[in-house]
C-alpha cells in the first residue's frame, strides 16, 4: 500500500505559480491592451472568460470519459479519482460559463437568460455533470459507485455530440426569422490584440484547470489512503 510522497507538491507549486502569472497576463491583455469591440463595446471582454471557460468545461468532460474508460478497463483506483476530480472541477467551470454567458446576454440582449443553443447546451452539460456526481455520492458501496459513475460518464460523453446536434438543429431550423440571431456574434474586424488576449486567457484557464485538478486529485488519493488505513485498523 504505497505511501504518497511529498515531492509532487513542488511540481504542483510551479504549475500554480505559472498559472497565476498567465492569469494576470490574461487580465492585463483582456482588460487593458485589447481594444473594445466595434459592435459590442467593452462587454465583448467577457468573451475572454467565456470561451476559455467553455473549452475547459468540455476538456473536463473528456477527462471524465478517459478516466471512466480506464477505470472500467483496468479497475485502478487512480482512474476513478481522475474521473470524479475532473467532474467536480468541470461543474465549477461549467457553472461559471453559464454565469458569464448570462451576464453577457443581459448586457447585449437585455435578458438574463435565453434558450439559445449555447446557453442551453451549457446548462445541459451542467446537469449531466451534476447527475454524475450525485450518482457517485449516493451509491452505497464505493466500488459500485465508481463503476456506476464510470458507465454514466461514458454514456454521457457519447451522448454529448447527439445532444449538440439536436439542440443546434432545434434552435436554427425552427427559429422564426428575427433580427436578433443570438448564436452569431458579429466579429467582423478581429484586432490582433484581441486574438492575443483570447489566446493568453485560454492558456491561463488550461493551466489553472490542471493546477486545480492536480490538487483535487491529490485530495482524492489522500482520502483513499485514509479509508484504506481505517479499514485495515478495523481488522
Amino acid at each position: 500500500m504505497g505511501e504518497i510522497s511529498n515531492r509532487p507538491n513542488k511540481r504542483k507549486g510551479y504549475l500554480g505559480a505559472a498559472a497565476l502569472i498567465i492569469v494576470l497576463a490574461g487580465l492585463y491583455w483582456g482588460l487593458l491592451r485589447a481594444p473594445p469591440d466595434a459592435y459590442q463595446g467593452e462587454v465583448q471582454r467577457i468573451m475572454y472568460l467565456h470561451i476559455p471557460s467553455i473549452l475547459t468545461a468540455y476538456l473536463s468532460f473528456f477527462l471524465v470519459f478517459v478516466g471512466s474508460c480506464l477505470y472500467l478497463w483496468k479497475r485502478e483506483k487512480r482512474d476513478d479519482i481522475l474521473a470524479y476530480s475532473a467532474a467536480e472541477i468541470g461543474v465549477l467551470f461549467t457553472a461559471l460559463t453559464i454565469i458569464e454567458g448570462s451576464i453577457w446576454g443581459r448586457s447585449t440582449w437585455g435578458v438574463w437568460w435565453t434558450w439559445d443553443a449555447r446557453l442551453t447546451l451549457t446548462a445541459i452539460l451542467l446537469l449531466i455533470f451534476a447527475g454524475y456526481l450525485m450518482l457517485r455520492s449516493l451509491t452505497e458501496e464505493d466500488n459500485r459507485g465508481a463503476s456506476s459513475a464510470a458507465v454514466l460518464g461514458i454514456i454521457g460523453f457519447l451522448d454529448i455530440p447527439l445532444i449538440h446536434m439536436s439542440v443546434y438543429w432545434w434552435r436554427t431550423l425552427h427559429q422564426p426569422p428575427s433580427i436578433l440571431r443570438p448564436d452569431k456574434a458579429p466579429w467582423d474586424n478581429v484586432h490582433p490584440a484581441m486574438l492575443t488576449a483570447l489566446a493568453i486567457n485560454f492558456v491561463a484557464f488550461v493551466l489553472l484547470y490542471f493546477y486545480l485538478l492536480s490538487l483535487r486529485f491529490r485530495l482524492g488519493e489522500l482520502r483513499e489512503e485514509i479509508k484504506a488505513r481505517w479499514l485495515n485498523g478495523e481488522n
Binding site: 467593452e42 472568460l49 461559471l96 454565469i99 486545480l212 488505513r229
Partner: protein, 51 residues
C-alpha cells in the same frame, strides 16, 4: 448598468469563485494530511507496542 460594470461583474464573480474553490481545496487537503499523519503515527506506535 454600464458596459464596464457588466465586465467587472463577470470578471469579479469568476475570479472570486475560483479563488474560493482553491481555498476550500487547500483546506480540505490540509485536513486530510493531518488525519493521515495521525493515522500513520498511531499505526507506528501500535506496531512498536507489539514488538
Amino acid at each position: 448598468m454600464g458596459a464596464w460594470e457588466f465586465v467587472f461583474l463577470a470578471y469579479g464573480i469568476v475570479w472570486c469563485a475560483i479563488l474560493i474553490y482553491w481555498l476550500t481545496l487547500k483546506r480540505r487537503l490540509r485536513r486530510a494530511e493531518v488525519e493521515l499523519a495521525q493515522l500513520r503515527t498511531s499505526e507506528e506506535s501500535q506496531s512498536n507496542a507489539q514488538t
